[in-house]
């Protein structure tokens, strides 16, 4: 059974059609990169997988571990092991990062019928994970993403991923707004989470990230569909030639 099967997915928002029959199959243990020009539907795909309201699936289905998740709430999908690293992580004033992490971890465990993590166990995990990402204890006491630089916000997303241990992690343009050093830290964090039981969908506009998070499969997304699939060399080809040849492709 595939970890994720997207079959002929058609999605609109506000009456506007964004995804036009998108097919995608992802197996555990693999890293898939999805590249495409602006407006191709990259973020829409990530939002639809995560279950954001207002995105209407007009045709097709999304199967996660064989289950159709189209009618599931975002929190249900998260508990089932889906994680979306946001392109623009949101600030949550008044909620300490530590509190947020603990609430999320325990909410998911509860949904899965697992016992909640005791505070000492939780603190231990957080210390380990944040240490590896270079996130200080002081930052954990601050409100989520408030006053964080772009790099700090992205590292915070990776920290959350490390704490939540998802089955499928969708990284939505994780590299946007990052300099090389921040990029390396984020990539290291992601690579540390690679495992035979886990899969990644790395959505990116630029090839650069893929030097650090080397994909097994590369897809080109254009006008709401996957128009080409290949190995990691495809990313280099795209960097050389650009998206022009795919923008002209008929739907």
């Amino acid at each position: 059974m595939h970890l994720l099967e997207v079959k002929n997915l058609h999605v609109e928002i506000g009456g506007k059609k964004i995804l036009n029959g998108l097919d995608l199959t992802v197996d555990k243990g693999k890293v898939h990169a999805i590249m495409g020009p602006n407006g191709s539907g990259k973020s829409t795909l990530s939002y639809v997988l995560a279950g954001k309201a207002d995105y209407d699936i007009t045709e097709g289905e999304v199967l996660f571990n064989g289950e159709n998740i189209a009618d599931m709430e975002p929190d249900e999908r998260a508990a089932k092991g889906l994680f979306l690293a946001f392109q623009y992580p949101i600030e949550i004033p008044g909620v300490a990062t530590m509190t947020f992490l603990r609430t999320a971890v325990n909410a998911q465990r509860k949904a899965r019928g697992e016992p909640e993590l005791s505070t000492p166990d939780f603190m231990k995990k957080v210390r380990e994970a944040s240490g590896e990402l270079g996130i200080s204890q002081e930052m954990l006491r601050r409100a989520v993403n408030v006053g964080f630089s772009g790099g700090e916000k992205k590292r915070n997303e990776i920290l959350q991923m490390a704490m939540l241990q998802p089955r499928l992690a969708v990284l939505d343009e994780t590299d946007s707004g990052l300099d090389i050093d921040a990029l390396k830290i984020v990539a290291d964090g992601v690579n540390a989470l690679r495992s035979p039981e886990r899969a990644f969908i790395v959505i990116t506009h630029y090839q650069r990230l893929l030097d650090y998070i080397v994909p097994d499969v590369v897809h080109v997304l254009s006008k709401g569909r996957i128009v080409r699939t290949g190995g990691k060399e495809l990313a280099l080809e795209l960097e050389e030639k650009g998206y022009a040849q795919y923008v002209g492709e008929a739907a």
Binding site: P74, A78, F86, I90, V95, T103, A107, A143
Partner: protein, 443 residues
């Protein structure tokens, strides 16, 4: 000239009768008696405030009060027993409990032994009966709310309250908790007046809580008169948790000297209709006054916080922050007036009110007013009202936090911003616990 006959409502008639019947027995000698007479006359001429009175436009007391409830009888042993276990709020603060039950200062239920040197706490009724000059003189001073009908009514009808005085140079560490409880099973009215004096360089911390049972439409009219001398400091936290049918009208007037601090916080989660009105006069320079509050309202609760901050002299800083969380068909009102007198230069005054609407039928009204007569000042005001941010909710849900829990987290964060300014950590935590309990009850 033809005699003007004012048509009284049933409540106004009831109040007139109550005053007529009580005036002979209310504590205080001649000067206090005439103070009461004049005050009642002031009230009578204006009547209960209604929507065409600007300061009361959102809280039409004339419409809200169908009748005047009978004055609460003196508490008996059963009443005192009920009061004894009242309000475990912030018990960890180990505050000194002063219990005012059914409008009566109950020394036997209060912790008035071993007062810190320079601190005195007593009953207003007793002070008036003894003719204590300071108290009488203080009551005779013209307060900022003297012409307000609710305050005038309180002046006329006040039967008891707490008189708390910290002499010069007395820093009282241990908070004082004024526990106001109404125990009557039948609806009653209470009128209390309390006086708080903070001497030069002194400090006091006061927690004030109000409670009564659900289902009883009591009518409470309270007033606290605060005087803070130069270099003095007062921290005051008020918690309103009366029953779901209670009417609570409370006035706080304050005269503050120079280089002083006043941190005021009002938390409202109870009552059917609450009107908290605060009028502060900053009379000395380099003073900091902060008035903040949080209201958590549901069903058809109505909470009105009205404030007037008067910068009578320059070089003072005032901050006002009121937050309301509204569910069902509840309503919050915030009226904030900042007055900067001529020559009150270098005034720094900021006011903000934010309402979080959790339901389509809730309503938040905000009326900021600025009367600025000096030209070298910094004054600002902001008001927002809105629902929970959908993108934020999605972010929380995408991390596995279900809808209701996500809403609760956001509401807690919203309220937390106002509560974090409360000085005492134990009290802060206790306030957040109240907020959490409110959220839990939402389901």
């Amino acid at each position: 000239m033809a005699e003007l006959k004012v048509i009284k409502t049933a409540a106004e008639e009831g109040l007139a009768e109550a005053f007529a019947g009580a005036r002979a027995h209310l504590p205080g000698a001649a000067s206090v008696k005439s103070l009461r007479e004049n005050a009642f006359r002031t009230f009578e001429l204006k009547g209960l405030p209604h929507r065409r009175v600007e300061e009361w436009k959102y809280t039409d007391l004339r419409a809200l009060m169908r009748d005047a409830k009978p004055l609460a009888p003196l508490p008996d042993a059963a009443a005192k027993l009920k009061a004894k276990s009242a309000s475990a709020f912030a018990s960890a603060a180990k505050a000194r409990r002063i219990v005012i039950v059914d409008g009566v200062f109950a020394a036997d239920l209060s912790d008035v032994a071993g007062l810190e040197p320079g601190l005195s706490i007593g009953s207003l009724a007793e002070a008036l009966s003894q003719g204590e000059a300071d108290v009488v003189e203080r009551l005779g001073r013209r307060a900022p709310l003297a012409d307000d009908p609710a305050f005038a009514l309180n002046t006329a009808m006040m039967s008891d309250g707490a008189v708390i005085l910290a002499a010069d140079g007395v820093k009282v560490e241990r908070p004082i908790h004024l526990v106001f409880v109404t125990t009557s099973i039948k609806p009653v009215s209470v009128f209390t007046r309390s006086l708080v004096s903070v001497g030069k360089g002194s400090s006091l911390s006061i927690i004030e809580s109000h409670e009564s049972a659900d289902g009883i439409d009591n009518q409470a009219n309270h007033a606290i008169d605060v005087a803070i001398a130069d270099d003095g400091r007062l921290d005051h936290v008020k918690i309103g948790r009366e029953g779901d049918r209670a009417l609570h009208v409370a006035s706080l007037v304050a005269e503050i000297g120079k280089n002083a601090h006043f941190n005021d916080f009002t938390f409202t989660a109870g009552g059917a209709v609450t009107r908290n009105q605060i009028a502060m006069s900053l009379n000395g320079s380099d003073t900091h006054a902060a008035v903040r509050g949080a209201s958590l309202l549901k069903a058809r609760q109505h909470a009105d916080n009205t404030l007037v901050m008067d910068h009578a002299v320059g070089h003072c800083e005032s901050r006002e922050l009121f937050k309301a969380v509204l569910d069902d068909e509840s309503r919050s009102v915030f009226q904030g007036k900042i007055i900067v007198q001529p020559h009150a230069q270098k005034t720094d005054a900021k006011m903000a009110t934010h309402a979080l609407l959790l339901s389509e039928d809730a309503e938040a009204d905000a009326k900021p007013e600025l009367e600025i007569f000096a030209d070298d000042v910094v004054c600002g005001h902001g008001a927002t009202a809105g629902a929970l941010d959908d993108d934020l909710l999605f972010y929380l849900k995408a991390r596995g936090i279900p809808q209701k829990e996500a809403e609760a987290l956001m509401v807690e964060a919203f309220i937390g911003e106002a509560v974090e300014a409360v000085e005492n950590e134990v009290v802060r935590e206790a306030l957040m616990d109240l907020a959490r309990a409110w959220l839990k009850a939402r389901g």
